[in-house]
Subunit: 152 residues, 2 copies
């Protein structure tokens, strides 16, 4: 079997999954913690999507860690296909959520501190930035696994 | 050479490119025509991206039409790679622009008819919907061409 760096079960994949878990959790925390995010659809959407991405990435990070440190797992085509599909869908949802959040934050920022006080607004911005980073790593995982797929 | 339906130079690809040109131009027209779109960053971004997608799709539609109706073009790996890369980047930009526009329109809609009169708001919504359709077709083209790439 070809060994693609970054594909399912390698240490590079573990690093990618770790980054995804970190960034998606950070995005979730910046958005949720002591902020009334649910008055805007885009922010609720971001929270929903990041709430899906974080456990998915964490679960796959655990599987990768098992494969790297304990016992190398055999890669089955069906399993890798499911992972690619899941990553694919979540990466698109992440991109859409991140760009919606960024544009809504930009509008609130322009509307002035009455609608969006400066500390809250910068937290929204940070949350959108973290979501973009999470999307980038998630999409890298898709590409690496897609590269692996034909060799299975 | 394998014949993948929807890949560069086939009639299905011509149909996809035609749809992309149509939807991106429609999105551009709904957004630009007699509307002050440039007061919102997200709308300006949509206009920029659709202004790139429309000529790119139209150019490739012309190439596909030449290949289908006049003389079948030989597919070179480098050319198909460039097309895949271009489609890829534009499809991501389209998705980001469409979701930003949709979320900003939703906020303006909630802010009431003072900020966004009903006929204008429904045009923004239509523009976002067209951009989503354009993204969907653009991404289909990416997948078909990506499928063709290893066989070249």
């Amino acid at each position: 079997m070809e060994q693609v760096p970054g594909a399912f079960g390698t240490s590079a994949s573990l690093a990618l999954r770790f980054g995804q878990t970190l960034f998606s959790s950070a995005s979730l925390l910046f958005m949720c913690f002591q902020v009334e995010f649910y008055s805007y659809t885009a922010f609720s959407y971001l929270v929903t999507v990041m709430g899906l991405v974080a456990p998915w990435s964490f679960l796959l990070a655990l599987v990768d860690a098992y494969s790297v440190f304990i016992r190398c797992l055999t890669r089955q085509q069906r399993v890798v296909s499911i992972i690619v599909m899941g990553d694919f869908v979540l990466s698109f949802l992440s991109l859409a959520a991140a760009s919606s959040t960024a544009s809504v934050t930009s509008i609130l920022h322009e509307a002035g501190p009455l609608y969006c006080p400066v500390p809250i607004c910068s937290r929204f911005e940070l949350s959108a930035a973290m979501a973009f980073l999470s999307w980038f790593l998630s999409f890298s995982s898709v590409l690496f696994n897609l590269w692996l797929l034909p060799s299975l």
